[in-house]
């Protein structure tokens, strides 16, 4: 393998890996406050992409993206308020089926609104063929956008959880919900907020990645599976570990093209998911003791 090819694969891996990491963080935010895996997480990414594409027909790009993110955020909040908020201690099986149902609804609605066609946002800078020379290889500026935006999201989120009182309340809610309630935190609002937050970051990721991967009504499902793989790989609930796990999966996937046909690429990441579930269900970076206390 030439060094140029190596770098190409590496950049592709990092790009996809950052997106997987964002989806995984979305899973983790909701999982931490509710104990629910939101199977509709991938649909937020699709919605962000689709909405911004539609809005961009009459709005400038930054404004279109901002509005798309806000709309997706509202949809996230509505989902929580309509379907989840009023349930009293629902079983895991019930929550799985409900979120799967929600993802089907969003997907079908998208199919009827936008059709089966493949769409994409224009490149933020330049076009399909413009490239920037980094080290000894050429990369599209959009790749830098994706990596940059994902990095900013991760940094802002960690600052939010660490230093703002709202972020601290959410963390309190995730470590012990009863204790948080006793301290006067409205845990139900925290859950709604967690849905809004993961919808928003999912939508933003969907916008920046749209020029490269294109957006289709059913592009959420694949991303959800990959994001879940990454979330489990890093240890469910651990957002920072999801970043390294995401990059790892992205790079493995990118280099696997050299060995197996593209059509089996999804099968590779799912095999990784299955192996990690069987061998280390607490994730690469999680501790076994902590995982034993959680309920999956």
């Amino acid at each position: 393998m030439t060094s140029e090819l190596f770098l190409q694969y590496l950049f592709a891996g990092i790009t996809y890996g950052s997106i997987y990491a964002i989806v995984a963080i979305g899973f983790n935010i909701i999982y931490n406050t509710t104990g629910i895996i939101n199977f509709a997480q991938g649909e937020f990414v699709m919605l962000g992409g689709m909405l911004s594409i539609s809005l961009h027909t009459f709005l400038p790009l930054p404004l279109a993206i901002a509005i798309a993110v806000i709309i997706t955020m509202i949809i996230g909040a509505l989902i929580e308020i309509i379907f989840i908020r009023w349930l009293e201690s629902p079983s895991v099986l019930r929550m799985i089926i409900i979120t799967i149902g929600i993802s089907i609804l969003i997907r079908e609605a998208a199919l009827h609104v936008w059709g089966e066609g493949v769409r994409s946002l224009p490149y933020f800078n330049g076009n399909e063929i413009s490239s920037i020379r980094i080290l000894s290889t050429n990369v599209s500026p959009q790749v830098l956008w994706v990596i940059g935006v994902c990095a900013v999201i991760v940094v802002l989120l960690s600052l939010f959880f660490k230093f703002t009182s709202l972020g601290q309340e959410m963390r309190a809610c995730s470590s012990n919900r009863l204790a948080a309630t006793l301290c006067g935190i409205n845990t139900k609002n925290m859950v709604t907020l967690s849905f809004m937050l993961s919808a928003a970051i999912g939508a933003l990721a969907g916008c920046v990645v749209s020029p490269i991967t294109y957006t289709q009504y059913d592009s959420g499902t694949g991303l959800a599976i990959k994001g879940f793989t990454v979330a489990v790989l890093g240890g469910l609930g651990n957002s920072m570990a999801a970043v390294s796990a995401g990059l790892l999966l992205g790079i493995i996937e990118a280099f696997s093209i050299d060995i197996v046909p593209l059509a089996f690429q999804d099968a590779i990441s799912i095999s990784i998911l299955l192996i990690i579930l069987f061998v280390r269900p607490h994730g690469l970076f999680g501790s076994k003791e902590a995982a034993g206390l959680k309920e999956f």
Partner: protein, 354 residues
């Protein structure tokens, strides 16, 4: 006592025969095609009901087992072995010597040589059971979200494989699958003249499977499964071998799905990758949930009604959306199925005056 237990099954058989009679007198025998397909899909769903409702394990990969059965049978009964025979492949010669191959001719008069559907069927069932067994050992150790994702992952891998593998026909699937002659004079195929016969074949298989499952859940095994559903730890403590029971029911339901896949493939004369799709698995889960999870009768009724309506195209392009909506509504308002809604209990209380 024993004969009493068979009365409901006898009535069910009567209803199935009655439906056929009804299509005959109202001259709507074109419904029989969908009714036959419905019976096969219902077979998958009652099998899944055993795993979900009784053993309490979710499986989002049952379309995968359906596809393994259907595709294995389709590949074996359409793959032309004539060149291997001419080259003197010893294994093919052995099969031919045992009478396990059939000769045929295609449209251009070239001679073809296939594996007989009987052998293909048995091989497909054994393969499915083996895969279910091997997948089941690690997967069934998982719970909740992890189990759901792992089975879904398995389903997606199967989908990707049939979509990308040349021998499986890629996106086109496999067509021209020959009929399956069960006995001289009894053939599973899509022939117009064979419609009534095929309806009864499908109903017989469904009925036999249903009686088998009903007996199973009212036996020692069934009680063990319900104990597992209630609390796996408690069942373990009471000496129930939870891992083994979960695995056996998983394999059994996978075999049911494969059987349905095999027969439906021969009936339709082909199979496509959409049969392995994730939406199919979700649909099976949805119907079990609507039927009330741990209710074989409820599941059977819902499976028949909803599959039939869907196959008739009643939901149009909203097909998947309808199942999504039903799924959410049932899970929100009646997680024990619509046949066990509180309204019925209130109604009963009202009637008895309590």
């Amino acid at each position: 006592m024993k004969t009493q237990r068979f009365i409901p099954f006898f009535l069910l058989a009567l209803v199935l025969a009655g439906l056929q009679f009804l299509t005959q007198i109202t001259d709507t025998s074109y419904y029989l095609t969908q009714m036959t397909m419905t019976a096969y899909y219902s077979l998958v769903i009652i099998g899944l009901c055993l795993v979900m409702g009784y053993a309490g394990q979710i499986s989002l990969g049952h379309a995968g087992f359906f596809a393994i059965g259907g595709y294995t049978s389709a590949v074996l009964t359409t793959y032309n072995l004539i060149h291997l025979l001419e080259k003197g492949n010893s294994f093919v010669l052995f099969l031919a010597g045992k009478g396990l191959l059939v000769n045929g001719e295609n449209l251009y008069g070239e001679s073809l040589l296939y594996v007989t559907p009987w052998l293909a069927c048995i091989l497909a069932l054994v393969l499915t059971a083996l895969i279910a067994f091997l997948i089941g050992i690690p997967v069934l150790k998982l719970k909740g979200h992890y189990l759901a994702m792992a089975t879904m992952g398995f389903g997606i891998i199967i989908y990707r494989v049939v979509l990308a593998w040349e021998i499986m026909g890629e996106a086109d699937g496999i067509s021209d699958v020959p009929g399956f002659t069960l006995m001289p004079g009894i053939t599973v195929n899509g022939d117009f003249s064979n419609r009534i016969q095929n309806y009864y074949i499908a109903c017989t298989i469904l009925l036999v499977a249903f009686i088998l499952l009903q007996n199973l859940i009212h036996s020692r095994v069934g009680r063990a499964l319900r104990a597992i559903h209630g609390s796996e730890e408690a069942a373990d403590a009471m000496g129930v071998n939870t891992a083994r029971y979960k695995l056996y029911t998983f394999v059994l339901s996978a075999v049911f799905a494969a059987l349905a896949g095999i027969f439906l493939t021969h009936y339709n004369g082909g199979i496509g990758p959409s049969e392995a799709g994730i939406m199919k698995s979700v649909r099976y889960v949805a119907i079990v949930a609507i039927g009330g999870m741990a209710s074989m009768w409820g599941t059977l009724i819902m499976a028949s009604v909803l599959n039939f309506l869907s196959l008739r195209g009643l939901f149009g392009s909203y097909d998947d959306a309808v199942f999504g909506v039903i799924l959410i509504i049932i899970m929100l308002f009646a997680p024990d199925g619509i046949l066990r809604l509180h309204i019925w209990q209130r109604f009963k209380k009202f009637k008895t005056g309590k």
